[in-house]
């Protein structure tokens, strides 16, 4: 039988199955299907767990009629025995049911989280072009839980449905008129709260949105705390926070009031149903058609019936939530990589030529690319690595229109989806055809992507450090030796990171390298790229946050370290340019000159870029 954590192989090279992303309902169906055995057992144990609730009114009534009223201890003992048995069986089923609920819920939850990781790995840099980060993360952290909830409610509904049918049958065999009252009144009772649900929902949404704002405000205060404590402004932002907090408090009280109204309605109506039953029942009794025990049973049934009915309404609500989450999950899981691949082999030491800029990367040489516009050399790095160009403008988040409802929300969603589809379309055009960069004369689009990624490695300015020990930050693959690590740490002039971190190699580096200075972070990133030791290494502005002293050291050591391998560095720093084999000068994205640093210094265009601050002195 399935158990948690589930094994997931979708979107990996070892893939044997993947989710059904054709529609939200199919996706939920797939979630249920992959653990059908757990779902089935959940339904069965759920029903048995309900039995004491459903049967105890009957047994209590029987015991009163045949035992208590007649003073027949043996009859009482008999019925009490049956009641005890039902209770014990119910309790056992309850425990089994709880175990399966946890299992089913967590299979869905962990399964979704694993899918998100695998999909993120599969899509790589394309991921951020399809969905904003926040949305991907909310699939893993919150929608995954909704899927667990879907599994739970589906199986609970199966149990509740069976219990409902059972109790109806019991009621009709005892007294059809009272049976009718319960069957007709109970749904009304549960449904009567529905007019309040809309304002309640509205109030909850408003509260949730503002609470989100409040959290971002607190986050904002913490992110800017250095400024607030260094320059001032505690009063302004403290007051702003307090004002929003009070607003959220009022919205919360509104939500609480609507919840109180909902509960009041339910108290009132279930009370009135009880009154109606008792009134009818006592009159039936007075006319001799019903025994006391049976009347007591009916009161018990009426109280019990509210429960399966509530489950049905809950099902309706949670299934819709499940569909919403499924739609979000599909937006992440459905997209495919927009690249076309070929099977032509990539030579171990390729000569790369970029058609757009005309830059040729000679094997075994250390090339620097200088451009007045840093974006142009960064774009060249992307092309050499076969990365889609950086998107202009930030991706919008789904939360932005969370306050919209109904038609406007749908329109907002549709236009967002249309914009995303447009980006995806453009990506397929870019990645599907000729790429424009060739390795030994073969266009990238005819090479296997995996071997290209292994051979050409781009370490750009957005390269990220992952939380872990310093050892893991430098050697995230866990496959290198201390000597190799020391060598690259030296080459990147990053020994001070080791010396400054309590615990040395086992010292903690926080997520995104927090706790290290900008310059330290940059040097650890550089050391990591050097340790990977790819045939072609493309470095984008590797020393932009490093001081001149250290930069001079890095320049010397990195060039030495990479000797014999192909390296391209995008930079305008004379300290680095001084050491490289060759420099390519880009103007308007085209190579206009090539030579050593010393040669190119004669070119005024070159001097104006690399010599900033040089010409106006002395």
């Amino acid at each position: 039988m399935h158990d948690f954590p589930p094994r997931v192989d979708a979107y990996t090279p070892a893939e044997t199955s993947r989710p059904d992303t054709r529609s939200p309902a199919r996706f939920l169906g797939w979630l249920l299907r992959v653990q059908w055995d757990v779902v089935a057992l959940l339904g069965v144990t759920g029903l048995v767990w309900f039995l004491p609730g459903a049967l105890s009114p009957l047994l209590l009534g029987k015991a009163i009629d045949s035992g208590v009223l007649h003073g027949d201890m043996w009859a009482t003992l008999g019925w009490a025995g049956v009641l005890t048995l039902v209770i014990v069986v119910g309790a056992a089923a309850g425990i089994a049911n709880h175990t399966f609920v946890v299992r089913g819920w967590l299979i869905a939850l962990y399964g979704t989280q694993k899918l998100v990781t695998r999909k993120a790995v599969q899509l790589g840099h394309v991921l951020s072009r399809r969905l904003p980060t926040g949305e991907v993360l909310s699939i893993s952290s919150s929608d995954s839980n909704t899927f667990g909830q879907t599994i739970e409610i589906v199986s609970r509904t199966i149990g509740a449905m069976s219990a409902f049918v059972l109790v109806c049958a019991l009621m009709f065999t005892t007294s059809p008129p009272l049976g009718w009252v319960v069957v007709i009144a109970a749904p009304l009772l549960v449904g009567a709260a529905s007019p309040v649900l809309r304002p309640l929902n509205h109030a909850q949404t408003a509260e949730r949105t503002r609470t989100g704002e409040l959290t971002s405000m607190a986050t904002d205060i913490v992110s800017g705390l250095r400024i607030l404590r260094g320059i001032g402004g505690e009063r302004t932002f403290g007051n702003n926070y307090a004002a929003l907090s009070q607003k959220v408090r009022r919205l919360g009280v509104a939500t609480g009031t609507w919840q109180a109204v909902t509960e009041t309605i339910s108290v009132l109506l279930s009370g009135l149903l009880l009154v109606a039953l008792v009134w009818l029942g006592s009159h039936e009794m007075l006319e001799g058609r019903l025994s006391v025990g049976q009347l007591i049973s009916f009161v018990g049934y009426a109280l019990f019936m509210v429960w399966p009915l509530q489950t049905f309404f809950e099902f309706a609500e949670k299934w819709v939530q499940g569909l919403v989450s499924a739609r979000k999950a599909i937006a992440l899981l459905a997209p495919e990589l927009p690249f076309s691949e070929g099977a032509e082999p990539l030579s171990p030491r390729p000569r790369l030529v970029d058609a757009v800029s005309g830059v040729a990367v000679e094997p075994g040489r250390f090339l620097a690319v200088v451009s007045a516009v840093p974006e142009e050399s960064a774009a060249l790095a992307d092309r050499l690595g076969r990365y889609l160009p950086t998107l202009q403008g930030a991706q919008e988040n789904d939360d932005d229109d969370s306050e919209l409802r109904g038609r406007r929300a749908r329109l907002a969603r549709e236009s967002r989806e249309a914009r995303r589809a447009e980006v995806a379309e453009r990506d397929r055009d870019l990645g599907g055809g000729e790429w424009g960069v060739s390795a030994d004369g073969v266009d990238y689009s005819r090479l296997p992507l995996a071997s290209l990624r292994r051979t050409v490695v781009v370490s750009d300015t957005a390269s990220q450090l992952f939380a872990g020990t310093l050892q893991q930050a430098v050697d995230p693959w866990g496959t290198h030796t201390l000597e190799q690590a020391q060598e690259v740490l030296h080459a990147a002039a990053a020994e001070d990171v080791y010396a400054g971190l309590p615990g040395g190699w086992q010292g903690r580096v926080d997520e995104l390298g927090r706790g290290l200075s900008g310059g330290q972070r940059q040097r650890v990133v550089l050391a990591r790229a050097l340790l990977l030791d790819p045939e072609v290494l493309v470095l984008v502005e590797p020393t932009s946050a490093v001081d001149a002293h250290t930069e001079a050291r890095i320049a010397e050591r990195v060039v030495e370290h990479r000797r014999g391998r192909t390296t391209v560095v995008m930079t305008a720093s004379p300290l680095l340019l001084h050491h490289v084999d060759e420099v390519s000068l880009l103007v308007d994205g085209r190579e206009v000159a090539r030579g050593t640093h010393a040669d190119l210094l004669a070119d005024p265009r070159y001097r104006s870029i690399v010599g900033r601050g040089m010409e106006d002195d002395e």
Partner: protein
């Protein structure tokens, strides 16, 4: 003036410290893994399975307690307060809300009592019909009474739930405002040195856990406990004899609940910790998807994510078993009293001790107890998680103050540092007795390799941290004795960060003087500052001028505009000394050129200490201090240092070549 140069001997001892001949490198995979004893071995016979489950459960319990203990005494980051502090906090909040609290208890009690009258009336009715009532005249008045009570009960429920919501949300608002206040009072030195990750987690995830506790669990605690107590009293009042059926259950429940709660807290706190871990790993994988792709880290990231899930599964299994063990007692002790009512009822009815109506009433009461008791247990679970979160939040307040304001006020604007030493870790000084005398209005550039202590020196000069020995004086007064409000108008540290706050343009700029300026004076000061940094034009073109809300998700500023806002803040603060820590190194060269005018306006007539990466910044300064290994190795003007032919001169030549 002569340039100063340190001897090579001074520097040697520090270099030894940098050696990376490490013994702390670990071979092989270094991820945290779940111990194999915890994994389930399939195919065991049933008898062994139970023993194996018990073993695993014990081990998981130990892991949960270890995690809990570690979370209470973090090795790094901000401190965590004790449970007593959290309770004192709750009590203090409640003390100022006595009326609201009393109203909540009173309305809930009234609603519970009304709810308990209905079963009593039903019992009376049963007695009437079995006692020989023959017509509607005897039955209908009772039913009329039930209708009245139901309506009253409904009204009281409305009042009670509303009172609970008002109290809950009020408590929550007060609690979170106080937390943010505490954060805003964090000592300056702590803010500058600590990584913001810990604080960020506390202010987001811990506040939300505390919210859940305060907003939901606390009112539920009041409601459910009132209802349970009232039901038990009503049960006794109805028939003390029949109430005996509950006594056995209560004893069992007491012990089972106590045992459960003793373990549940650590279990749930561990569980929620494992989910935070999954979330941070996923966040890194998603945000760093390009890095993962570029470096071929996919398999590693998947393995790390799966390991987190495995750890989380173990935490879930622990609480699942805890609940299962608890539910055995719970389910049975909720339901068995019904059997007791039937048995005692038969006996008592035969003996004439109880009426049929009392039996009916007791049966309904016993069934009615299930829900509030169930909820109480959930409430305790949530409260424990909330309590742990609250202790972490209150821990922020336990960071010791790093300065005591004195009464001396600076006379003059000269900045002098004497014998400055500083250590981040005991015994490891990063500055070794620096003396520095700044002349008002001069421009000093500090250059030197990373890790040489130049940023630390800047922070001491700006009064962010106090030195281990020596002191920094402004106008003859130790900076660490100046009140923060005053310090900011004397000296300011400007870093690479140019955070734009969510708030109006005005809020974003008035910062330093938000306590001094009121009304129109604010707008005037803000406009003057914006004009000075060349930013008034574009601000006035914004849709609502100074009232335009900036920041994440609102009006987005270009990096240059954001930098101008940062400069305008400093114009408003108007300190006579500025410490620039790589303030322009992260800006695009094109915007840097555009900002030169704004920057020049800010620096005019001020003493400027510029910690520089780029040599051209140094070259323009009046004096240059070359800091190497915590000492000033060279000090003098550009020309003097070139003449000295030391470290600076060597670099300058490389730069120029």
């Amino acid at each position: 003036m002569t340039a100063y140069r340190a001897t090579p001997d001074d520097l040697a001892e520090d270099r030894n410290r940098r050696d990376t001949r490490a013994t702390d490198w670990v071979h092989g995979p270094t991820d945290e893994q779940v111990p194999p004893e915890l994994l389930i071995t399939p195919g065991l016979p049933w008898s062994d399975r139970l023993a194996a489950l018990r073993r695993r459960h014990r081990l998981r319990g130990e892991r949960a307690r270890a995690f809990y203990a570690a979370s209470r005494t973090p090795e790094r980051g901000l401190p965590v307060a004790g449970n007593a502090a959290a309770w004192a906090f709750v009590k203090r909040l409640l003390r100022t809300r006595k009326g609201s609290f009393a109203l909540t208890v009173a309305t809930n009690l009234a609603a519970a009592v009304a709810g308990l009258i209905v079963p009593r009336l039903l019992g009376n009715l049963v007695d009437e019909v079995t006692g020989g009532a023959t017509g509607a005249t005897q039955v209908d008045p009772i039913i009329g009474g039930v209708i009245v009570v139901v309506v009253v009960q409904a009204a009281l429920v409305l009042a009670a739930r509303r009172a609970s919501a008002v109290l809950g949300y009020d408590l929550l608002a007060a609690a979170r405002e106080e937390i943010v206040d505490t954060v805003l009072r964090l000592p300056l030195g702590e803010v500058e040195s600590a990584s913001s990750g810990d604080l960020l987690t506390r202010i987001t995830s811990d506040v939300s856990k505390m919210s859940q506790s305060v907003r939901w669990a606390f009112p539920q605690l009041v409601m459910s406990s009132v209802l349970v107590v009232a039901s038990l009293v009503a049960l006794v009042l109805n028939s003390a004899f029949l109430a005996l059926t509950m006594s056995g259950s209560l004893v069992v429940l007491w012990f089972a609940t106590r045992n459960y709660l003793r373990h549940a807290g650590a279990g749930y706190i561990t569980e929620s910790g494992t989910y935070s871990q999954i979330n941070s790993t996923t966040t890194e994988t998603v945000e760093g998807a390009r890095t993962v792709e570029a470096l071929g880290l996919g398999e590693r990231r998947i393995a790390i994510g799966d390991a987190d899930v495995e750890v989380s599964s173990q935490a879930e299994r622990y609480t699942m078993t805890l609940r299962n063990l608890f539910f055995i007692f719970l389910d049975i002790s909720y339901q068995l009293p019904l059997v007791g009512v039937v048995l005692l009822g038969t006996w008592g009815y035969a003996e004439g001790w109880v009426t049929l109506g009392e039996i009916t009433t007791a049966a309904i009461y016993v069934q009615g107890l299930v829900e509030p008791m169930d909820r109480l247990i959930q409430v305790f679970d949530t409260l424990q998680v909330g309590l742990a979160a609250t202790t972490r939040l209150l821990g922020v307040a336990e960071v010791p103050e790093d300065r005591v304001a004195g009464d001396d006020r600076p006379r003059g604007t000269d900045v002098v540092g004497v014998d400055l030493r500083f250590a981040y870790r005991p015994g490891v000084d990063v500055l070794h007795g620096i003396d520095l005398d700044l002349r008002p209005g001069e421009r000093l550039a500090i250059v030197g390799p990373s890790g040489s202590g130049k940023s630390t020196l800047g922070r001491l000069l700006a009064g962010i941290n106090g030195p281990r020995t020596g002191e920094v004086d402004i106008g003859g007064v130790d900076v660490m004795t100046l009140p923060l409000d005053l310090l900011r108008t004397e000296v300011a540290l400007v870093t690479q960060e140019h955070h734009v706050f969510v708030g109006s343009v005005r809020d974003n700029i008035v910062l330093a003087r938000d306590r001094q300026l009121e009304g129109d004076a604010v707008d005037e000061a803000v406009r003057d500052a914006l004009r000075a940094v060349d930013a008034l034009d574009w601000v006035e073109r914004l849709p609502q001028g100074l009232d335009t809300v900036l920041g994440h998700g609102r009006v987005h500023l270009t990096p240059a505009q954001a930098q101008q806002v940062a400069l305008a803040r400093l114009m408003v603060a108007d300190p006579h000394t500025l410490v620039l820590d790589e303030a322009t190194s992260l800006i695009d060269p094109r915007t840097a050129r555009h900002l030169e005018g704004s920057m020049a306006a800010l620096m005019e007539d001020r003493t400027v200490i510029a910690i520089a990466h780029r040599l051209h910044t140094a070259h323009d300064a009046d004096r240059i201090a070359v800091v190497i290994d915590g000492r000033i190795a060279e000090l003098g003007s550009h020309a003097e240092l070139l003449a000295l032919d030391g470290e600076y001169a060597r670099l300058w030549r490389t730069w120029r070549s």
